[in-house]
């Protein structure tokens, strides 16, 4: 479960201070698939950073499964990311000098998992995203969509409780984006992992069961969706 309580994140100080997140509160239950939308600079990505412990809030609490991320030190936050949170980024963020399999296994290597277990879990993760046949390929030999699937496998290999996906379709065309969103949706359905998706695109936001709309770091709209809308419209419950 993810819970934000009156979270403020300000950058800079004094008169030049900018509030990227402004008194934001929400509770995201386990197994949810939520999307966050909003214009550029509305604080969507910053919310993901806060949840992952990559940056501390200026005030308020960020709870992940009951643990306050804001009170964790750097090593504890890193351990949280290694064991509980899978992060998927728009730029894929694969290491070009490692194969797909090595990239997927990196969080386990960082966590000191034995190589035999790393190999087994990498195999499973790649199978989950249908990339087993490309395990030995380097990222430069993969298409954008394939690279993003490898990145998703890397997020899943730790068997996370939460997947934070920051514009995962941003570098892909519409068709490639749909493949990735289908995959994320399918994983959420199959594994029950909590997915928090940041996107600009209402078509992809429609995969989520709830959409938060942020403006200037504050929650402007909280829209539960009744059903997925393949045409891109967001249906609001009730």
């Amino acid at each position: 479960m993810i819970e934000l309580r009156h979270v403020v994140k300000a950058f800079g100080s004094g008169e030049t201070a900018v509030r990227a997140v402004n008194d934001l509160s929400f509770v995201c239950p386990p197994g949810s698939f939520w999307a966050m939308m909003g214009p550029s600079g509305s604080g969507k990505s910053t919310v993901l950073h806060l949840i992952a412990g990559l940056t501390p809030p200026t005030s308020g609490s960020v709870l992940v499964d009951g643990a306050d991320v804001a009170k964790m030190n750097s090593a504890e936050a890193a351990a949280l990311r290694r064991r509980r949170i899978g992060y998927v980024l728009q730029t894929f963020n694969l290491m070009p000098f490692l194969t797909a399999a090595e990239n997927v296994g990196m969080p386990l290597v960082l966590d000191g998992v034995k190589q035999r277990e790393v190999d087994a879990r990498v195999k499973d993760a790649l199978a989950m995203v249908n990339m087993s046949h490309r395990a030995a390929h380097y990222p430069t030999h993969l298409s954008g969509g394939e690279q993003q699937r490898v990145a998703i496998a890397r997020a899943l290999v730790i068997r996370p409780a939460i997947v934070l996906a920051d514009e995962p379709t941003g570098n892909l065309d519409r068709a490639g984006g749909r493949v990735i969103m289908d995959l994320i949706h399918d994983i959420n359905e199959r594994t029950g992992v909590t997915v928090l998706l940041v996107t600009h695109d209402p078509v992809f936001a429609a995969y989520a069961r709830r959409v938060l709309r942020l403006v200037d770091g504050a929650l402007q709209q909280d829209m539960p969706l009744t059903e997925e809308s393949p045409d891109g419209d967001i249906g609001i419950a009730g």
Partner: protein
């Protein structure tokens, strides 16, 4: 951490081989220069000490006019001999002469008191022919003893004549004996001639004057007491010192030159550190993406900082491992040149037979090289691990990163090293086996070309008039009066 080093660092270093080469090359270049300068300095000093020891022989004290070749009155010998503790006082003159038909072939001329046969033995100048007969024949003012190596090189045998340029003009000499390559003859690498004292004084234009008195004491004599007594008895312009003290004097003189070389080597290390810092900093653009990626996937900033420092340690060790043998090789090429330069600048001419390589010094230099690599990497590692990973990934750093700069830098570095090495090898190939005395290039014997010298030294003539001593482009010395 070692697993990360193997799986992340080594793979990335391999992928960005240009940057890796620059870092290792930067450390190796800096370390090799420090090693080379240290080995050259140590070798020159060690050989200087050996030379002074060989020249001094068993003498307990030396009377000299400080460092220089002006000379002092021969009457000083009698004053020294009058001391009850003195067993023998042996006067000596020294000078430089050259072949009349090849002024680049110079000889250190020793004028010793050959009437006492044991003088030669004391100074370890041994003769290959009948010693007694040779000494008898040295009464002739044109008689000269030549080192075997020199005589062989110029096809000169006993009884043969040669013309030599001396301060008194070109004169005819007769070879009366040969000096085996041992003792002083070996020290001067064969560029040695010995004459009887009065004849040598005549040739050098220093009649009645000597350069040095070697003092042998009676077995029961106390060296310090005798030294003080002689200092009191002799003019204050003369120095009475143990041979090793004289060596210390020369070492003091050499110290400034060697300090300059050491300073230059440290500057090279600073340049090496700068190269490492620069390459690690510019590489941080590429690195930042990988580091940010690792942060997002669960690595802590401290963990990555340790990884980067471990990586710097490995690169530092690799660079040092290449730099130390490289520095020793460089020292082999340069020691002769540095020794010759010192000879020209300080009027101290002696050969450098072997390199003095101290393991403890090399270990210390290795520590400096590795420490420099860690120091240079520290700041870049701190900076790159402190970056907000998501800010790094948002910026399109891949597009900003230079793609070809490193490759060109590596080529430039390799080119500089290669050109320097070729220049040294070419210079070395033109050098002779040993020509430590001459003001000329080492090597090639007759074909050796003279160094161009424009140095002038202050001096005084026998009447005390100020003059300046010059050497022309062939290394021939002459005095000029205002």
């Amino acid at each position: 951490m070692l697993r990360l080093l193997r799986q992340v660092s080594f793979r990335q270093l391999q992928a960005s081989w240009g940057r890796t080469t620059l870092v290792v090359g930067g450390v190796a270049t800096g370390v090799s220069l420090i090693v080379a300068i240290q080995v050259i300095n140590a070798s020159v000093l060690d050989n200087l000490r050996r030379t002074i020891e060989l020249i001094a022989g068993p003498a307990a004290l030396e009377v000299t006019l400080g460092v220089g070749e002006v000379g002092f009155s021969e009457a000083t010998v009698e004053t020294v001999r009058a001391d009850p503790a003195v067993a023998a006082a042996v006067p000596l003159v020294r000078g430089t002469i050259s072949l009349a038909d090849d002024p680049s072939e110079t000889l250190q001329l020793f004028g010793a008191d050959l009437t006492a046969e044991e003088d030669l033995e004391r100074y370890r100048i041994s003769l290959t022919t009948d010693r007694r007969e040779v000494l008898r024949s040295m009464d002739d003012p044109g008689a000269i003893l030549l080192a075997e190596a020199f005589a062989t090189r110029h096809a000169l045998g006993i009884g043969q004549h040669l013309k030599l340029s001396t301060p008194a003009g070109v004169k005819d000499f007769t070879v009366r004996g040969l000096l085996a390559p041992a003792g002083v003859a070996r020290v001067f690498g064969g560029q040695l001639a010995v004459m009887d004292l009065p004849a040598a004084q005549l040739v050098l234009g220093t009649e009645g004057r000597i350069d040095q008195v070697d003092v042998l004491l009676r077995p029961e004599a106390d060296v310090t007491t005798t030294q003080r007594r002689l200092e009191a008895a002799l003019p204050s312009t003369l120095q009475v010192a143990r041979p090793e003290q004289r060596g210390a004097q020369y070492e003091t003189i050499l110290a400034s030159f060697q300090a300059m070389l050491t300073g230059l080597s440290l500057l090279c290390l600073v340049a090496g550190v700068y190269i490492i810092y620069n390459t690690t900093s510019t590489g941080a653009v590429h690195r930042a993406l990988v580091i940010a990626g690792l942060r997002v996937t669960g690595a802590s900033a401290d963990q990555l900082f340790r990884l980067l420092m471990l990586e710097a340690l490995v690169l530092g060790v690799a660079g040092t491992g290449l730099g130390i043998p490289g520095g020793i090789a460089l020292a082999r090429l340069l020691t002769g040149l540095v020794s010759d330069s010192m000879g020209v600048i300080f009027q101290l001419r002696f050969p450098v037979d072997g390199l003095s390589i101290e393991a403890s010094r090399q270990v210390a230099i290795a520590a400096i090289g590795i420490g420099a690599a860690l120091f240079a990497a520290y700041f870049a590692a701190r900076r790159v691990t402190a970056l907000d990973p998501l800010e790094v990934m948002r910026a399109d750093l891949r597009a900003l990163a230079p793609q070809t700069g490193t490759y060109r830098l590596v080529l430039a570095w390799l080119g500089l090293v290669g050109v320097s090495a070729l220049a040294l090898v070419e210079r070395r190939s033109r050098d002779t086996v040993a020509a430590p005395v001459a003001f000329r290039r080492r090597g090639s014997g007759r074909g050796g070309k003279p160094l161009s010298l424009g140095h002038a030294y202050g001096c005084h003539d026998r009447g005390g008039r100020a003059c300046s001593r010059h050497r022309n482009h062939r290394g021939i010395a002459h005095r000029e009066f205002p």
